[in-house]
């Protein structure tokens, strides 16, 4: 399944041997993957394996040290400031904790991108906001301040904001972190529903395998900055790759070591000879 060929012409995002270093630390090491258009793709990996970096590279907020990141066939690195901003208008991003503007109400948060990019009259903005909020089931919460929202609601508002500009690609950064099972199910359901209803391409960065495997079409596994496996959810479930198995079964120790590299325990305690 590691060799599964990807259809290059149908890829929204393509990474061509991308390496990203933060100082001396290699976050991504020679990564080549592609994300299929119109599907929900999940990117799995433990904490600190470069998943968020992946999203930031797609959004052009970080530039790769080597290699090319392509969005809809265009190299992000080769874009001018204007082209990059035009490309970003075609992307939506849902941050881990929503990243709502704390000084604005729910309603103002949702229409923020519309206010910035269009000259639509107030009445139409209002209707659009109501429609977007209705899509996430929060039409009644439009006059609340963001501080009055629960974690799950905040993420749904952020989702309404992310789809305000009708993007083609939407990226979710850890959408399930810190949510109760009901809220998790609600978000998962929304991700799946929106993808079908709006014809989006979705990228889901997460370490919540159980929920995600039910809604995604394709999975990519990251470990230590490299892609260690990819395939459909069924293929992943049956994978005999030890890294993936450890991840699926939640084993404490395995190819992903429990211990941070250290010197010998006994000699560290001063016991060794």
């Amino acid at each position: 399944m590691d060799e599964k060929p990807t259809n290059k012409s149908n890829s929204m995002i393509e990474f061509e041997s991308v390496t990203f270093c933060y100082g001396a630390r290699k976050i991504l090491d020679n990564v080549s993957v592609s994300v299929p258009t119109g599907k929900i793709t999940a990117i799995f990996g433990g904490s600190g394996t470069g998943k968020t970096t992946f999203l930031k590279l797609v959004g052009g907020q970080l530039a790769p040290s080597h290699g090319t990141v392509k969005f809809d066939g265009q190299s992000i690195g080769g874009m001018s400031y204007k082209q990059l901003y035009a490309a970003r208008r075609r992307m939506g991003m849902l941050y881990q904790f929503g990243a709502l503007f704390t000084d604005l109400s729910v309603f103002e948060n949702v229409i923020f991108p519309l206010r910035e990019h269009t000259d639509l009259p107030e009445q139409i903005l209002r209707d659009l906001a109501i429609m977007k909020l209705d899509a996430v089931g929060l039409r009644g919460a439009r006059d609340l301040m963001t501080s009055e929202l629960s974690g799950g609601m905040a993420r749904r508002v952020a989702l309404a904001r992310a789809i305000a500009l009708d993007p083609e690609l939407i990226m979710y950064d850890e959408p399930f972190t810190g949510l109760d099972p009901v809220a998790t199910a609600v978000i998962a359901n929304l991700i799946s529903k929106l993808n079908d209803a709006l014809g989006l391409t979705s990228v889901l960065v997460t370490h919540d395998l159980e929920v995600s495997l039910n809604i995604v079409d394709y999975c990519i596994f990251f470990a230590a900055g490299s892609v260690v496996g990819q395939g459909t959810p069924d293929e992943i479930r049956q994978s005999d790759n030890p890294l993936i198995k450890q991840f699926i079964n939640g084993e404490i120790d395995g190819p992903v070591p429990l211990h941070y590299p250290a010197s010998d325990y006994r000699s560290d305690l001063g016991l060794g000879g």
Partner: protein, 261 residues
Amino acid sequence: MFQRGVVAIGRLTVNGIWKIGAGTAFIGNVIARSKMTFARPRLFINEIYFAGTLSLIIIVVSGLFVGLVLGLQGYETLKRYGSAEAVGTLVALSLVRELGPVVAALLFASRAGSAMTAKIGIMKSSDQLSAMEMMAVDPFQRVITPMFWGGFFSMPLLAAIFSAMGILGGYLITVVVIGVDGGAFWSQMQASVDFQGDILNGIYKSIVFGFAVNAIALFEGFDCLPTAEGVSRAVTRTVVTSALAILALDFVLTAFMFTGA
């Protein structure tokens, strides 16, 4: 031990130079992306509210008290030499030349500057700036630059209000309370306060301070570590660095303005 000291000095120097360079680039960036601020006055007005109006109370009250103290102290000293009427001159010159711009800027740094740093820092640490960027909205143009110009515009006005309130405070305590002759108070003041040399120079000072404080506050906010602790440290740094910058700049400006020809 000695070696470690040298290393620490070296690191401080490198960090300092890096900060100056990054700060200069940052401010260049802010000014270069000013177009939206002036194309959308709403952004600018909101930031004047944020930086100026919200600092108004502290400026008015502090100005009044500084004036009261100056008037009282000045009167006590000057009356020994029989020139109590000169208290107006003393109060006005100290305020217009030094205390007005300097104290107003210090208050501005602790009231508005720290709030700016905190706001930017929180927006950064909660991914709001990044989210804005991903919505294809430049956070520089939309958030940082309007804040800069709002604060820059507010500072001289706040300094003028501070000086005016201080002089009124001096008038209150010496003329109304103590009973110094009011006519002499104003006329001596007017005779010795020069519009060009004293008042305009004071305003120039407050413009320079306003530039420095706003630049420092926004840079510290933008540069902070995106954590709660990082934000609180950045706020502290804003107040400390601003205070040092104000006092150092004040010395340099005073040396240029009020000495020699």
